[in-house]
Amino acid sequence: MVTATPETVNGDLSRSVTSREQAKRHRKFVIIGFLVIPLSLMTLFSVYPFLQLIYFSMTDWDGLSPDSNFVGLDNYHSLLVEGRGLLLPMVNSLYYFAGSLMQLALATYFAVILNRGMPGSSMYRLVLFLPFVLNSVAVSIIFRDFLQIGGGIDAVFEVLGLGAFKQQWVQDPDLVKWSLVFASVWRYMGFQLLITYGALQAVPTDQYEAARIEGASEWQQFWYITFPSIKMILGLQIILSTVGSLEVFEVPFLITGGANGTKTFIMAAIEEAFNFRRLGMASAMSMVLIMIVIVVITIQRLFMNRGKNDA
């Protein structure tokens, strides 16, 4: 039997203490080493600009000159209270919101029927998703060409014998908004379809088998099996649609350039900043949008959590 002398005990202890300290130092080194670059970039290009935006929104800076004055909440006041018409483009978001709900309904419908594995499903899925991988400027020019007077859509109507339905798709101020919504749905529906489809794939097929043996109809299968399993993702998509319809920029900017009352709020903000050189006001507009988005997301979080507790 070996009895440890006090010396050896102390020796072991101090060695393990130093090695533990070493491990600790090593751990710290790894954490810092792995995080320093990503976090600096994130700070420089996301966090700092965000904080700066808050400050800019309370100045009258033009974005160029060295001096700017702190004006407090003046920008917000003239934006929200005096109503200088800058909020007006916000109304256009309603069209895109309506469009995105239609898009969600369509995408869900397609996802559900394609998930049944009917012959040719993967072909259809591929075609419907295709627009999402295409260049946005290319798509917009194609649509400008397609929707113009004597453009592709009218030509197709002519061929189908529907010549009477020809419209001024982009010139008619009532119609143009829906034309743009169509272009937007055209582009993003397939992506949404894939998201929902992905969620449906996670539902075990034997549930459907069992339901079928019990004699459940397709509609009952949808209502009692499919719908509950995609409820969460649909809720999330409604929020994303709400947020998305507030920040529409590319489609109207590239197709109509904002003419004919199609300017969106983001377009107005970008214009304020880069064309009219009113960076302070543009920042205030951005902040208003961010507030709305945060409120929407918070409401959704509360709803979703309550839903979870109920279940």
Binding site: R27, V30, I31, F34, L35, I37, P38, L39, L41, M42, F45, S46, V47, P49, Q52, L53, F56, G117, Y124, R125, V127, L128, F129, L130, V133, L134, N135, S136, V137, A138, I141, I142, F146, G152, D154, A155, V156, W186, F191, I195, Y197, G198, A199, A202, V243, L246, E247, F249, E250, L254, I266, I270, A273, L279, S286, L289, I290, V293, I294, I297
Partner: protein, 284 residues
């Protein structure tokens, strides 16, 4: 494939409804693209006189493509786009996986604050802060440089980081622990164990980011508006002056040069792309 069950008249009716809707939708998706393709093969006179739905007289009339290539810096735009794409992906994947590993596997002071900031940043739409991000870039003297795009595509993208974190979270910690018992250090664990297991995550990010970067318009429009740094998006944006019957064919030829590579890659890698997008969407 599931077996066909007895086809009741009701079922036949609904199936034909589904197929009709699917076919109409696919027709709507394809028509604008096909008509533009037709236009790219038409001579100016054909385009002026005929209807959009008329087939081109000569299916091998590539004159419009030559015109576009002669008049516009197509090669340069592809070079710039590829440059931005490759560096953005390399940086995003390197720093994204490392940061995700550190944030998921270690508990340290400040971690909660970092994660909270990420959630907040994800809620703030990127386009709204461009007004002031632009000032940072211009302070750094990077406006007008391709590096401004690379830094924003790789460094300011919280969603990529979040997707990596979700994937790392799905890798069992027991693997790390058993490696540590065998004496592996954190670096070895990260490079030899975690990184190889992240291959599906990396391919998801490569797919999602490539689609985004190749097609994005907003950032090139704001940061690299000059011809020397223009990406394919800006090449086309600058070609909009060709929207007249006389030069429309050439414009559509330019558009075909940009979108046909996407379509070809998409058809070749359809399975990987579809499952990659679905994985990314479910995790993100």
């Amino acid at each position: 494939m599931r077996k066909m069950r007895r086809l009741t008249p009701r079922k036949i009716f609904w199936n034909s409804v589904h197929y009709t809707v699917l076919t109409v939708a696919s027709f709507l998706v394809i028509t604008p693209l096909v008509l533009s393709f037709f236009t790219s093969l038409k001579t100016p006179i054909e385009a002026l006189r005929g209807s959009k739905t008329d087939l081109p007289a000569d299916w091998f009339n590539y004159a419009n493509f030559v015109t576009y290539l002669d008049g516009r810096p197509v090669g340069l735009a592809f070079y710039n786009t590829l440059f931005v794409l490759v560096f953005s992906l390399l940086i995003a994947i390197t720093i994204g996986t490392m940061a995700a590993y550190a944030l998921d596997r270690f508990r340290f002071r400040g971690r909660g604050a970092i994660l909270f900031t990420f959630i907040l940043l994800m809620a703030v739409p990127g386009i709204t802060t461009q007004v002031s991000t632009f000032q940072v870039m211009s302070f750094l003297g990077l406006v007008g440089s391709k590096w401004s795009l690379i830094l924003l595509y790789s460094g300011a993208d919280v969603v990529t980081l979040y997707i990596f974190m979700q994937f790392i979270n799905g890798i069992s910690r027991e693997i790390d622990e058993s490696a540590r018992i065998e004496g592996a250090g954190y670096f070895t664990i990260f490079f030899k164990i975690i990184l190889p297991l992240l291959t599906p995550a990396i391919s998801t990010i490569v797919i999602l980011r490539t689609i985004h970067i190749y097609n994005d318009f907003v950032l090139p429009y704001l940061y690299t508006p000059r011809v020397e740094q223009s990406t394919v998006s800006m090449l086309l944006y600058r070609s909009q002056d060709m929207m007249s019957a006389a030069s429309e064919g050439a414009l559509m030829a330019g558009i075909m040069m940009v979108i046909v590579p996407s379509i070809v890659v998409f058809l070749l890698l359809q399975r990987q792309i579809v499952s990659g997008v679905m994985r990314g969407a479910v995790k993100g």
